[in-house]
Subunit: 265 residues, 4 copies
Amino acid sequence: MGLRVTVWNEFVHEQTNDFVRTIYPDGIHEQIASHLRSQSDFEVRTATLEQSDHGLTPEVLESTDVLMWWGHAAHEKVNNEIVDRVQERVLAGMGLIVMHSSHYSKIFKRLMGTSCALCWREAAERERLWVVSPNHPITQGCGRYIEIPHAEMYGEFFDIPDPDELLFVSWFEGGEVFRSGAVWHRGRGRVFYFRPGHETYPIFYHPGVLQVLTNGVRWCAYHGNDEVIGVGKALNQKEPFEKIGPKDYVVGALRHPPTFNPGDR
Amino acid sequence: MGLRVTVWNEFVHEQTNDFVRTIYPDGIHEQIASHLRSQSDFEVRTATLEQSDHGLTPEVLESTDVLMWWGHAAHEKVNNEIVDRVQERVLAGMGLIVMHSSHYSKIFKRLMGTSCALCWREAAERERLWVVSPNHPITQGCGRYIEIPHAEMYGEFFDIPDPDELLFVSWFEGGEVFRSGAVWHRGRGRVFYFRPGHETYPIFYHPGVLQVLTNGVRWCAYHGNDEVIGVGKALNQKEPFEKIGPKDYVVGALRHPPTFNPGDR
Amino acid sequence: MGLRVTVWNEFVHEQTNDFVRTIYPDGIHEQIASHLRSQSDFEVRTATLEQSDHGLTPEVLESTDVLMWWGHAAHEKVNNEIVDRVQERVLAGMGLIVMHSSHYSKIFKRLMGTSCALCWREAAERERLWVVSPNHPITQGCGRYIEIPHAEMYGEFFDIPDPDELLFVSWFEGGEVFRSGAVWHRGRGRVFYFRPGHETYPIFYHPGVLQVLTNGVRWCAYHGNDEVIGVGKALNQKEPFEKIGPKDYVVGALRHPPTFNPGDR
Amino acid sequence: MGLRVTVWNEFVHEQTNDFVRTIYPDGIHEQIASHLRSQSDFEVRTATLEQSDHGLTPEVLESTDVLMWWGHAAHEKVNNEIVDRVQERVLAGMGLIVMHSSHYSKIFKRLMGTSCALCWREAAERERLWVVSPNHPITQGCGRYIEIPHAEMYGEFFDIPDPDELLFVSWFEGGEVFRSGAVWHRGRGRVFYFRPGHETYPIFYHPGVLQVLTNGVRWCAYHGNDEVIGVGKALNQKEPFEKIGPKDYVVGALRHPPTFNPGDR
C-alpha cells in the first residue's frame, strides 16, 4: 500500500482572481498533487473547502497518512467540527504539512496554542531559505539553500512555540529573516510548517520547494508507536505493576494538616 | 510594586466533600495563597469558578503577573470566552502555573494543542520527584528529589508537546514514571506544569511542593520583551528595511509557468 | 548496498571473568552482531580495543554507517587519536549508538561536552523503561514499556545536555528514575544513548532491547545533507550573494569610538 | 556580594595591530569591562592569555560567577589544562559567554562537542540581529532587532548542537543568515554564544550589543541547584530508597542464555 496523501486547498483565489488562475489554472492543490503523483509510492487525493465536510470526512481522514493544508482568505469558513476531527487524527498519527499563509489556519493555531502571527510585506522580493539542520531528512537534496526570485515576505517575530527542530531560516531582500521550516510532534503525529508559496507567485513550480514538500510527506508519514496508551484518552490503570505497601493513610481517615515538618522535602 | 499572583480554583470538591474540607477547609486556593503571602514581594489574590467571569475579569487578568490554575471536576464549566481571555494574556506575557488535575483544563489543552491525556491510579502510593534539570531556578532548594508519602499516580504516556525544559520526573511505588514538572514558552508568556496535588491528600502543605510553587511564580513572572511585534497580531511591514531592486516581476504580468528549470533550487 | 554496522567492544570482562563468559562466550559484540545479522539489509562487522587502531582504521570508519559502542573497564585505554577520528566521522554523518556503561566513554563525553556522570547501584533490581516519545521510530515495536527483570541501576542526575528528544525513562525497583534513551544531533551525525546492558546480565538477549537497538541502527544511519558547507571546516565565502553597497567604512580609516549614540540599538 | 564577572581576552590583535589599537586602545576586554562596571552590582575583573595560567587560576575561577571569552588568533595557545579547568567550573555552575570568533575557541568546542565551523566574509556589511525569543531575559531592552552598520559576516551552516533556546537570528547585507545568539545548559552551568564583535570594528561600543552582554551576564550567573548529585562525579548509591525484593538471580549463578522468550519485551 502506498503512502496516502490528501492535499487540501480552500480553493478561493483561483476561482475569483484571473491572474491567480493563469498561474494555478486547476488550483494550487492540483499543482502540488500533480507533482506528488510523480512519486510511485504516493497515492494522492485532493479536497477543498466547498466540498461536503470540506472533503475531510472521517473516512478520508482515516485513510490519509499525510494531510497538506493551504488556506489564506477563508480560514474562518472552516467548520470547528472539522478542525476537531483533523486535530484528533494528527494526535493519532496522521502527518500534517502546513503551507505559507496557512500559518493562520484554525488547525495550525489549534495545534500550536499560540497566535501564529507574523510580520509580512508584499513586494515581490528575493528570498533565500538557508538549511540550518543538515541532519534532517526534509532538507535532503536542497543544497545549502533554496533561492526564490520573487516572494511575499514573512518576518519575525513569528509567534510559534519553539520548534522541536528548526530546518530552514529565510533571508529576505528587504532586510528580514524568518524561521521558514520547522517541525513539531503532537501526540503520535508530526507537523511540518513550510513558508514558501503564495497564490500570485509560481512558487509551487519551484524544484527546490517541491523537493522539500516531497521530503516532508515522507517524514510526516510516520505513524508512531500505536501501542502507547494515553494519547487522546486517559487510562485508569487500576492494577499497579508493583505491590504497593500497606498505608497508614486511608481516604477519609487521614490525620490532618500539616502532616509535614518544615524541613521535609 | 510586588509580583501579582492570582490563585484560581474551581472550588468544587471542598464545598461538596466533607473529607476534602477537613484537609482544605478554606479551599485549595486559600492554602496555596496563604503560603505565597509569606513572600514579602508577592501580592496574592484568589479567584473561583462561581464568581462573575470566574473571577477573571479583564481587569484582574491585566493586573496579574502569574496565574495559578487548579481544576478537576468542573473543567467543562469554564466558559470558552474566559479561556480565550486567559490564553491571550499568557501570549502577552502573563505566567501560568498548571497544577495536577488541571492537565485536563481547557486552558492547558488550548496552550499545548494536544489531548493532555495520561494514565492514573488512586492508591495512595509513594511518589518521588527527581530533579533532572539542576540548572533551572524552579528546582532550587528542592535537594535531589521531593518525596511525597501518599499520592495519586499519574503515569506515561503523558500527551504533551516535548517540553522546552523537563524539570522533574516522578517515580511511583506502583511501577510507573511521569514527567512531573515541565515548562513551555507561549508567545511572551511562560507556562509551568507541576503534577503534585490532589484534593484528598494534604500535598499543598508539603514544604518541597510549596518551595517549587514559589520558585515557579518567580520564574513565570518574566514578562518578555514587549517591543517585539508579531505576538497576537500580524503586522504589515510595508516599508522594507533595505532597498528592494527593480523586478521583472509585476503582479498580473508575470511570465507564466514554469519559470523554473529542473536544476533550479 | 546494505546498511553497514560496526559493533565495537572493549572486550575486557569477557576475557577476564568466567561468569561473564558464561553469558557472553564470544563477547557482547558478537551477541549484538549475531542479532543484527538477522536483518537482511544490514552488513555487520565487529571491532575491539586490542586490535590495531582498536579496529577503527580510517577505512573501517569510512565504510561504517552506524558505529555501536560498548566500553566499561577500559575507557582510558582508548587512544585519543582514535576518539578524534570517530568524532570527525560522526560530525560527517556516521551514526553512533552508545550503550550502558559507555556513558563514560571518551567519545560520548567528547560529543556531549559534559561529565556524563550518574548515580548507580549494583543490586540486580527490576527496571521498566517507559516510552515517552511514541512518535520516534526508535520506540516502534516496544509496546508501552520494556521490562528487565534484573539490572544494574542508573539514577539521576545524569549529567548530559538536554536531549534533542527523550525516548525512554526508566523506573527502578530501588526508587530511582533515569533518562534511559535519548538522541542528539552532532554535525551531520546522529547519536543515540541507550541505557540497558551490563556484562553480568543477559540483557543483550532481551527481545525488547534488541528491537530498540535494531531500530536505533536504522534511525542513526541517516547521513545528512552533505551539500551543506560548514560542518567540520570553516568556509571563507568571499563572494557575497547580494551586492554590498558602498561603505564609508574602510578598514584602517574608520572614524573612531564611539560611532554609536546612547539611543542606538 | 556582587555578581563576579571575569572578562578574558587573548589580547593579541590590540598589541600587534595599530588600527585595532585605535579602536580598542586598552584591549577589547577593557572596553567590555568598563561598560559592565557601570552596573553597580557587578564586580568586574579581566584576565589575558599572557598572564600566568592565562589569568585563570583555580582561585580566580572559583570566585567567578560568569566568565566572558574573547579569542581569535591564538586559540591554539590556550593550554589544555586551563580548558579542563574552565570546563569543570562551567559544569559546576559558572556561566560562560562566548563572543564572536571565540566560536572556534577550545573551550566552546569542548562544551559543544562539534566542530563549531561556519562560513564567513570580511566585507564590512550591514547586519541586523532579529529577536526570535521575546520570552528570554537576554533579549530584554533590544527592541525587535539590533542593527550593526559594519560587520564581518558569519553564515550558516554553523556546526553547533541544536540550541536549548535560539535568541537571535542575523540578516546580512550579502545574503546570508546566522544563528547569532543561542544558549545551552551544560551541567549546572549556562553557556551563551553571541556573534557580534570583531577587532576591526567598534562593535563593543554599540549600545544594543552592550545591553545584550549585560543581560547575558545576569542570565548566565545562575549557579544551579548544588544539592543535585551526579554532576562531574559518579555516585555509588549503595542503599536503595525502596526495599528490593528477593531475587532468583545471584551474580555468578544465573541460569544461562537466553532467559527471554521471543515475545518478551
